[in-house]
């Protein structure tokens, strides 16, 4: 298998060498050698066997030559691969005559190659004569008509091109104006007038008339020939069941149109508007502070060239700061010659001396009557107050939420009161002290929770409760013992001591305190298992209590030592497991 790539390499190398060995060629050709003015021919430059380093662009005086495309193709014939590059140009002539496209030279694959010169005959296309039209021999012809023979420079009119197709024409398409002699004029786009096709008899034949319109604007003064227009259209004539398609070249007569200069008595503020217009102007708000914007809306409606329509500078507005206006055009026809142009200009009063918006002037020239006209809006009364002193609008004061639903003309005025001052700082949620403070309720809750648990635990454990009660009793009893000892009251001392012994032992043995006597020391297992010191101490205390009944006289020091002994015994007794 390793030899297969080698075979492919060899084949490719042979093919390339073979291709390289083929001679490169460079040819130029025209798709036809004669055209009429306004028509286009196609010039093709073909490079075979190589790619041109640069494509020469032919230049011939009187011919308009524009590159329109290029293509590349590869072919293998008998094992020989060749590449073909084709560059196409459209060639148009505005004047009739004999033209020669000279030889062109190009570097193709390192070879300098040249083409043969080409001849192109440009014939003058003429509109058919009236006799030819009336005879019915013309299967299609074009008629041009301009509504005015005299126009003013800058005036726009709509000229008509009527395409006549004889009744046998089954269909048509690709109508295009291929040329127009319109020196001194500016032409707009040619469009068919909708729903206006009709039929008419010309001579002894019936024709279908398809009306087209083209806007024409005079741009220079003088006498000019408008036209002829040349056009091409593809028509379908009856021939078999498919019909026969035929491209027809059409031409019109020209019309002499005189373009007149505008009269010299131009009024002040005339900015070149030509047509017939009306104007409306509004301004608002009318109660403002110094510097506040006022929106002036000017609507100019009518007929004329709206593209060039401009709002003139208003000299009477020197007390206002003006901003460039914005414009919006709403056209009423497809040529843009009828409609409304709306200007929206922001102005702001510069001082409080302004009491009105002076009238707005708009001057235009009406070509129909040949005179200038000046439209004037009414003055608008304004209330201009010093900035900052404007009272709050009633609407804002009474219904604040509705403000956002309106289309305000300006911002609301400043506030006179400073309001509550705060220290600028981070939000509460990011302040450590604030966050730490949030632990307080949590800790309070847990404290209450623990307290509750302990309380409940105590309530459910009578021995524990008794244990605590006895502990309290012993603590207060000890105080009493020391008090009685100090006061040398042996009776009260030993009575208290005995009671305390009963309470403590009763709690330890879980039996009533009243049932405790010295005998329990030997009868209860817990006490029997107690350390001898505890048992002996308890015996001694019981015996002291008993002796006190018979020999009650004791000194304070002895009573104090007994109290201390009792405290020791009680403490050791509490350590015993019950």
């Amino acid at each position: 298998m390793r030899f297969i790539p080698k075979i492919w390499y060899a084949l490719v190398a042979v093919a390339l060498l073979h291709g390289a060995a083929l001679a490169a060629s460079f040819t130029a050709s025209l798709d036809r050698d004669s055209i009429t003015t306004g028509e286009s021919a196609t010039l093709s430059l073909t490079f075979e066997g190589g790619t041109p380093r640069t494509v020469p662009t032919p230049g011939v005086s009187g011919l308009q030559i524009n590159q329109v495309g290029n293509s590349q193709s590869y072919s293998i014939i008998n094992g020989a691969m060749s590449a073909t590059v084709t560059v196409t140009f459209s060639v148009t002539a505005q004047r009739p005559g004999e033209y020669t496209i000279p030889a062109l030279t190009a570097d193709v694959g390192g070879q300098q190659l040249s083409t043969e010169p080409l001849k192109l005959t440009v014939g003058k296309i003429a509109a058919p004569s009236a006799e030819a039209v009336n005879s019915g021999n013309e299967v299609a012809f074009l008629k041009f008509s301009c509504p005015k023979q005299k126009m003013y420079a800058g005036e726009s009119v709509v000229a008509h091109l009527d395409l006549y197709l004889r009744d046998e024409v089954q269909n048509f398409g690709n109508f295009a104006v291929t040329g127009a002699s319109a020196d001194g004029f500016s032409l707009g786009k040619c469009v068919e007038l909708p729903n206006q096709r009709h039929r008419a008899q010309v001579g002894n034949r019936v024709y279908t008339i398809i009306p087209y319109a083209v806007p024409v604007t005079a741009v220079k003064t003088g006498s000019f020939a408008l036209g002829p227009f040349t056009a091409s259209v593809i028509i379908v004539l009856p021939n078999g069941w498919m019909g026969e398609q035929r491209q027809v070249t059409l031409a019109t007569d020209s019309a002499n149109v005189e373009s007149l200069p505008l009269p010299e008595d131009k009024p002040a503020g005339f900015s070149g508007a030509i047509g017939n217009f009306t104007m409306t102007a509004t301004a608002g708000p009318t109660t403002v502070t110094v510097g506040d914007p006022i929106t002036v809306r000017v609507k100019i409606s009518g007929r004329g060239s709206f593209d060039s329509l401009a709002l003139p500078a208003q000299d009477a507005w020197q007390n206002f700061k003006s901003y460039p206006p914005t414009t919006k055009i709403e056209t009423g026809d497809q040529f843009g010659l009828q409609g409304t142009k709306t200007f929206e200009q922001i102005i702001s009063p510069l001082n409080t001396d302004v009491h009105e918006l002076p009238p707005l002037n708009f001057a235009y020239f009406n070509p129909d009557d040949g005179h200038y006209h000046t439209l004037k809006s009414g003055a608008v009364t304004l209330t201009v107050q010093p900035a900052g002193s404007t009272p709050m609008p009633a609407l804002a004061a009474n219904k604040p939420p509705a403000l956002e639903n309106q289309s305000p003309q300006d911002i609301l005025p400043i506030k006179e009161n400073l309001g509550a001052l705060t220290q600028a700082g981070p939000p509460l949620v990011s302040r450590p002290v604030f966050l730490a403070a949030q632990a307080v309720p949590v800790l309070a809750f847990f404290a209450a929770f623990v307290w509750r648990k302990r309380t409940d635990n105590l309530a459910n454990n009578p021995r524990l409760r008794r244990q605590r009660a006895v502990a309290l009793l012993i603590a207060s009893g000890m105080t009493d013992l020391k008090k009685y000892a100090s006061a040398n009251k042996p009776d009260e001392f030993f009575a208290t001591l005995f009671r305390l012994l009963q309470e403590q032992l009763g709690e330890r043995l879980d039996c009533p305190a009243s049932a405790i006597t010295e005998n329990v020391l030997d009868g209860q297992a817990m006490l029997r298992a107690a350390p001898p010191a505890v048992r002996d101490g308890l015996h001694e205390l019981f015996q002291l209590c008993n002796q006190a009944r018979y020999a009650p006289v004791r000194g304070s020091s002895e009573l104090n030592s007994v109290a201390t002994q009792f405290e020791k015994v009680v403490n050791r007794l509490r350590e015993l497991k019950s």
Partner: protein, 246 residues
Amino acid sequence: MKTWFSILFVLVCAGKILAADVTADFTSANKLYGEGKFADAAAAYENILKTGVESPSLLFNAGNAEFKAGHLGRAIAVYHRAEQLAPRDAELRANLAFVRNQVQGATLHESRWQNWVSSLTLNEVTLLTTVLFWALFGLLAARQIRPALAPKLRGATQLAVVLLVCSGTVLTLQAANHFSSSIAVVTGEEATARSGPFDEAQATFTAHDGAELRVLGRHDDWVQAVNGGGKIGWLSLKQVEVLPGA
């Protein structure tokens, strides 16, 4: 005790003196505004703000002055600050909306939930949540201390839990918006966003004065931001003012 009263007295007096100074400066700035000296008025308001105090009215007037001086971006930035203190101020919202309408090109638009959430300030939501938090734990503690009250406090406790959850959710959203979602407002006439955080990087889009952009990240003196049209680019901090999330 006397020492504490003395300290309190000094603090109150200092506060009153400070407020008196600020009020005088505020009146002077208002006067400049009234005379049509909007740039001077804006500078005067800015000087007051530099002292560290602020109030919705002060920021509102500062925004007005910036707008009148032709600084759309700075006006929007100041209005944003005012909005964080007084989000329900109808006049403030009207002016902010008006100035936003003057901005050319794509700009950021707050979503409905952001509008809803930001109808309370972050501090207001924080305090509300705190009150509910304290109330809930107070009720829980009361139930521990007086178990007999537990049945009577059950409804109040449940209500406090529900309100706390709602308030906590709003607080979380607000805080997330405030701390993690910054906004950059273009303060120059025109700002060119670039594909990288350096001057030689290819331009990706141009934002006009006042355009609001969502900040995605930062690198040195550059912020990466996305505009209202979804285009992403790096802008120098000299061209924008970065604000906490609105």
